[in-house]
């Protein structure tokens, strides 16, 4: 299973190298968001102590990872449309390797995104105080959350007919989730009714935890809740995706 997945990861990486546009969502897009929020909106947002850029970066990291989950679904839907899947299915390879390879490749893309974002952040005034241990924890949490959320992408990619539909379907829920969170503004500035959602949704919790840790603060109960959400999503969507994959590729 591992060697099959690795062979397919190599294939996916070759695709990315030959189609650099596939990296736009983890390079150009987040850079645009950083600049937009830091310089255009940042001055008007009060984060009660601390600079806005320090507040912002955690949100950008998690948002980029969440958005890149859309690419997982789109690329998978694309693969499923083609005859190559039939060839894979007639080979003595592990059936789920194609899913594992997709999510692992996208995890690598997410890591690339985080590295680029750190560099960009430092360039615009980001000054994180967290020590190595806290940073390791933050990155670990981001990767775990990203991996879990990638399986939602995989599931969506298999439930729809075309890559375009996959993009549309995911956009509908990824957009509100990333904006109605603590990514760009503190949730206590939002109306009470909205707060009931934003304060408790998984992205807010993960962002708060990551933010606290990279700035050298304690995250409190948000950390446990983030972990619980990440594992919960993984436990629900991973087996579900495999089951739907089997159904979709058997006739």
């Amino acid at each position: 299973m591992l060697s099959d997945s690795w062979d397919l990861v190599k294939r996916n990486l070759r695709h990315i190298m030959r189609t650099p546009e596939l990296l736009l969502d983890v390079t150009v897009q987040p850079i645009m968001f950083v600049i937009l929020f830091r310089y255009v909106f940042g001055g008007a947002i009060d984060v009660q102590g601390g600079s806005y850029v320090n507040y912002l970066m955690a949100g950008i990291f998690v948002q980029t990872i969440t958005f890149s989950m859309m690419a997982t679904g789109i690329l998978l839907a694309n693969d499923l449309q083609k005859g190559l899947i039939d060839r894979f299915r007639s080979l003595p390879m592990n059936a789920s390797a194609i899913l594992a390879a997709r999510t692992l490749t996208d995890l690598l893309r997410a890591m690339l995104a985080v590295v680029i974002m750190i560099i960009v952040g430092l360039a615009v005034g980001f000054r994180p105080d967290g020590d190595v241990v806290h940073w390791a924890g933050a990155i670990g949490l981001m990767l775990l959350f990203g991996f879990a959320v990638a399986w939602i992408g995989v599931l969506t990619g298999m439930l729809v007919r075309t890559p375009e539909a996959a993009q549309g379907a995911m956009f509908i829920f990824v957009m509100p989730l990333t904006f109605a969170s603590s990514a760009f503004v503190p949730t206590d500035t939002m109306p009470r009714v909205l707060r009931a959602f934003t304060e408790h949704q998984p992205l807010t919790l993960v962002i708060n935890t990551v933010r606290a840790w990279i700035l050298g603060n304690s995250a409190g109960s948000d950390a446990w809740q983030s972990l619980a959400w990440s594992l919960g999503i993984l436990i629900v969507f991973f087996p579900l995706a495999i089951v739907i994959y089997r159904k979709r590729t058997t006739d």
Partner: protein, 324 residues
């Protein structure tokens, strides 16, 4: 001396897709080292049969085994022993020819060094060495089919399935493909080939099974089938306004079977036993009645001829019929 079991066996396979009954009880067997051609028009059930035998699809009922393993009980063992080439080349467009072959070799669990040597060998044999390091997106249709065939041979499988390997190719690419397939056949693999062309089945196969609406309606060597359908046909094209039925009645004695009249094309077509000198004889007889021919041709047997003889109807596209 005990004979080895057939390399491919199918017993009463049925398969439906909603209201469409693609297979209604297909049974066949292919002895080890031989070549069977499944001959039939679009929608007859050829591809569905191949998909079941290559573990891509499950039958609604019936059994099948390939290389000694049941396709439903031990699909993994079957996959280790087969190579598959489809009508639509199943290749990764963004990888080079060489990368495609090496990746597929790896997925057959071949050691990396072996995949590289084998890939180079096959690229050479299929005349793709020059294009080997270009991505498949840049390949022509003929090149893709050759690469697809090479991919199915990476692990030197004992059993090969070729689903319509030359459909859609230009005549020159088709000839090239036939040459390659003939070499393959000479090498001793077991081959199951599906095709719409009697000529192709005749050229490549030891045995032919004719498929119509999800059933095997005839089985035999090419010679056996052709003797059943009387071999050649004569096609007479007559000027507009000619009474085609009268012509057919007039010439009935020259034909060895029922004539087919096409009033739009103005032709009378019929099987004939001996074509030598027939055109001249017929032309004279018609001339004596004041009827002139626009054209006369001796036709080699086609799938349509096989079907007309065996089923009484032409081998038209069966998909619309099935859907009804």
């Amino acid at each position: 001396m005990a004979s080895s079991p057939p390399a491919i066996v199918a017993e009463n396979l049925t398969k439906s897709f909603g209201q469409t009954h693609a297979l209604r009880g297909v049974s066949l067997d292919v002895p080890e080292g031989s070549v069977l051609a499944l001959l039939g028009p679009n929608g007859a059930g050829k591809t569905t049969t191949v998909r079941i035998l290559t573990t891509l699809s499950k039958p609604n009922s019936g059994r099948a085994s390939v290389a000694g393993f049941d396709v439903l009980q031990h699909p993994h063992e079957v996959r280790r022993r087969i190579g598959v080439t489809g009508q639509y080349a199943a290749l990764d467009e963004l990888l080079t020819g060489r990368e495609n072959l090496e990746m597929i070799g790896r997925l057959y669990r071949m050691p990396t060094a072996a995949t590289k040597t084998r890939a180079a060998e096959l690229l050479e044999r299929f005349r793709l060495t020059d294009a080997a390091n270009r991505i498949v997106k840049t390949y022509s249709g003929g090149m893709r089919r050759r690469l697809d065939l090479a991919a199915s041979l990476m692990s030197q499988p004992p059993v090969l399935f070729l689903d319509e390997p030359t459909t859609g190719l230009d005549p020159r690419s088709r000839m090239e493909m036939w040459a390659l397939l003939q070499e393959l056949v000479a090498g001793g693999s077991t081959l199951l080939l599906t095709t719409q062309y009697l000529e192709e089945a005749d050229l490549l196969a030891d045995d032919i099974a004719v498929v119509d609406h999800g059933l095997i309606i005839a089985r035999g060597t090419a010679d056996q089938l052709k003797s059943q359908i009387g071999g050649e046909r004569i096609e007479l094209t007559l000027p507009a306004g000619t009474d085609l039925d009268a012509v057919a009645r007039l010439l009935a004695g020259r034909f060895s079977g029922e004539p087919n009249i096409d009033s739009e094309a103005r032709t009378v077509t019929a099987p004939v036993a001996l074509s030598t000198g027939l055109t001249t004889t017929i032309a004279s007889e018609l001339h004596a009645q004041g009827i002139e021919l626009d054209a006369a041709a001796i036709l080699r047997p086609t799938l349509d001829d096989v079907f007309l003889t065996l089923t009484g109807h032409a081998a038209e596209d069966e998909q619309t019929e099935n859907a009804a």
